[in-house]
Symmetry: C2
Subunit: 467 residues, 2 copies
């Protein structure tokens, strides 16, 4: 391929002029204009400087951009709302950022209980559109108000309700994808069951923009769920909280099972002042939305919390339950107020949650670094938030070491370096340690088969092609 | 590759001797011994004669067999319990059949609510093992008593409960796979959420043995569901039944929504004599397993059935509900008593169910062929059963024409040629008509990347390699 670094100034100018002609009102190319598109929320310090940012509105425009990139061998970094936490949308030098932020259409079809969405639509916008028809799109990242469906699909995003209702891939029935060579394909559709050919829909969900650019999705909607009952339990030790969570997860299906440690509780209480118990070491928020008027699952969870020594159990009203769920969602921005974050997304088999928490406490101590711990505990997916002062290089070094050690710890416990945020560019160094060289090589074969030039999101998930 | 047809007798004898040395007590090679392994339940008339049947017990033995096949360029047809309905396990001339029927281990881990299973385990055996721990493996093909988990994974099998609980892929968390070159890889594990690397688990589920041989799976279990309430509704016309089903599927989440037409009702009643109403044109069995003591979803369904003109609505006891579910499961063998079957598995968006049924009635008339119609109606997945007398070649011709026309009809309605049985070898001629040449070509690239010699299940899903 004729990679970006092989490009002379004249080549770049010529390619850019061609792109500007293709999308006259939808290309940003000055340094000031491209700056906000160099990084996603992971704030990768090694972000490149792109040649341009393309802002297509239609599938045809995406196709034109990708075909142009393929002709010139120019890297394409697909970007949703830029809220990614793994550097999956970090720009690369001389490439383009293909932002789908203008692609925001949504059509709900109540008859098939599906919606057809463009990838730039925000998760909250899809939820609102579904709600107008009494329907519900379950996957709910904590960032649902600011993250896009395209980004959700790229990372196979989860969220709070996933413990009962599953993740993004469980709701994507169909996709339109622009391939690396500029062809557009359509996969699946409003069919609940379809096994004709390889399961390519499932392959693209979670492929982080490395195999194609999603330009449209058909997603499954559910009837709106009943109002959940929620309970909060406060523990004097993380071990006890983790043991209670493991017992619950093994026996019942809560609709919510979330966790915050003392650091997160403190930060959220500073932000929201809603009466969280700052004396507790751990806060667990549990919910059930089944239709049992006796609330047996709630009663069972209360009994488990009590038996594991909860110091306080709060059976909430609907409003208080919603407030506490909001508090849990606010944890990342709340902790972010204390410093720069390195945001982990490690998962473990649920019975090993206690060991993970204990190990992270050790890492925090060893590295003299603050690590807040929040989790979608009911599916073993956790977000240790490594906090550091960006003005202190030594602190940053220690934080980066801790960030890596957390991933290695999760892998040593039979876990994963990413439960729902993706590998992106930031976690790639730890990927082989989890999945092994053979599995990485098999993934690379698929990548090479679909993107032989390696122009799609180079450096994310897979090593960038040699130039 | 050195394909089977390029093999001389000496080569074959030499290769076979080598295989016998590798698995001394686990190779069948006489004509009589291999005969039962030439076809699955689809009874493909073009089945080949394999060189041998291998019956490994362990992953290492599978690996040895596949490595042997790779060295000799000999096709490998993986086989579970042989209950496939699309010819996915049809033997090929000079290849081997790799039957996993002796690989039957299962270990349930209640702490992670998962089971680790070998692929030859029957679905019913997994269900029984889970039940010993108060757990449940939801995917329940009608053939659950005789079909294997390996086959379920190969086809991403569905079943009756899938309308609420999803299909096989929704329950497979981890896989061990022997690749075409004889390497063994492990993917995923007892983690509910894991997005590290490409979603290869999801790619292998439903790949019909064309990308690798599954030797172990980690599947997710649920707590046992509550006892469902079930209602049966009998209609004087299929249009009305279909309209009622569409309305229900758009608004609520039943745990069961099944359909049988008059031909199926008659055949099942002949077999079971349980008081099915032979005067009805359509029978709908619906269920709800939520915990609402008022049974509001059941009441809503009754109201919908009534409004759409049901001639009889039967609110069942638990025992009668189970009997009627069993009746629905017995439909395929019951209709099979009337002749040879060509078993379709077409799906449509649910609002088009009525058009599909009407179209199939026209095809039956045009082709002067009996077509019974049963369906997992709540997810639009239907099984038109084309019945013919195998002793009458003209009838067989008409039946085969009807079989193809049903698939073309489904595709014309925005549907699929297979909802849960797979494409296998029998439906391959219709695959491109549904997914298109570009999607087929993308699938082929992935196939070629993982199985460059084309030795894994040649002719299933993809055209066999040119020899």
């Amino acid at each position: 391929m004729r990679g970006a670094e092989g490009y002379g100034t004249a080549d770049r100018a010529e390619a850019l002029a061609e792109l500007l002609a293709l999308l006259p009102d939808a290309v940003l190319a000055t340094a000031d204009e491209v700056e906000p598109y160099r990084r996603d929320r992971a704030l990768d310090p090694h972000a490149g400087v792109p040649l341009a940012v393309a802002l297509p509105r239609t599938t045809e425009e995406v196709q034109a951009v990708v075909a142009w990139a393929a002709r010139h061998g120019i890297p394409v970094v697909p970007r949703g709302a830029g809220t990614g936490l793994s550097g999956g949308a970090t720009a690369v030098d001389g490439g383009i950022v293909l932002s789908v932020e203008r692609m925001r259409d949504v059509r709900v079809d109540p008859a098939t209980r599906t919606a057809i969405v463009q990838p730039g639509l925000l998760n909250a916008e899809l939820q609102a559109a579904a709600a107008q028809h009494g329907l519900w799109y379950p996957p709910d990242p904590a960032s649902f108000e600011i993250c896009s469906i395209g980004g959700n699909i790229a990372t196979n995003a989860g969220g709070l309700c996933c413990v009962k209702y599953g993740v993004t891939v469980d709701y994507v029935l169909g996709l339109e994808v622009v391939l690396a060579d500029g062809r557009t394909i359509r996969l699946g559709g409003p069919l609940v069951k379809d096994v004709a050919g390889l399961p390519l829909v499932k392959l693209f969900v979670g492929s982080e923009g490395t195999l194609g650019v999603v330009t449209e999705a058909t997603v499954r909607l559910l009837p709106a769920p009943p109002t959940p009952r929620r309970i909060a339990a406060w523990f004097g030790s993380s071990e006890r909280a983790a043991a209670a969570i493991s017992e619950i997860a093994a026996a019942i299906r809560p609709s919510l099972l979330e966790y915050m440690d003392r650091t997160a509780i403190d930060a959220v209480e500073d932000l929201l002042a809603i009466g969280l118990d700052r004396s507790a070491e751990a806060f667990v928020l549990a919910g059930s939305d089944d239709l049992d008027p006796e609330g047996r699952d709630i009663a069972r969870m209360v009994e488990v919390f009590r038996r594991h020594g909860a110091i306080l159990i709060e059976e909430t009203t609907t409003a208080r339950g919603a407030e506490l769920a909001h508090a849990r969602r606010a944890a990342i921005p709340a902790v972010e107020a204390r410093g720069r974050l390195l945001l982990s997304d490690v998962g473990v088999p649920i019975p090993r949650l206690g060991e993970l928490i204990a190990g992270i406490e050790r890492i925090a101590e060893d590295r003299d670094t603050c690590i807040a711990f929040i989790a979608h505990a009911g599916d073993g997916n956790t977000h240790p938030l490594v906090v550091f002062d960006p003005a202190d290089p030594a602190a940053q070094d220690r934080a980066e070491t801790a960030y890596g050690e957390i991933m290695s710890l999760a892998v040593s416990l039979g876990g994963t370096i990413s439960g729902e945020h993706g590998v992106g560019k930031l976690k790639r160094p730890w990927l082989e340690g989890q999945i092994g060289s053979d599995v990485l090589e098999i993934g690379q074969r698929i990548k090479d088969a679909l993107d032989p030039q390696g122009i799609l999101n180079p450096g994310a998930v897979f090593a960038p092609p040699a130039r």
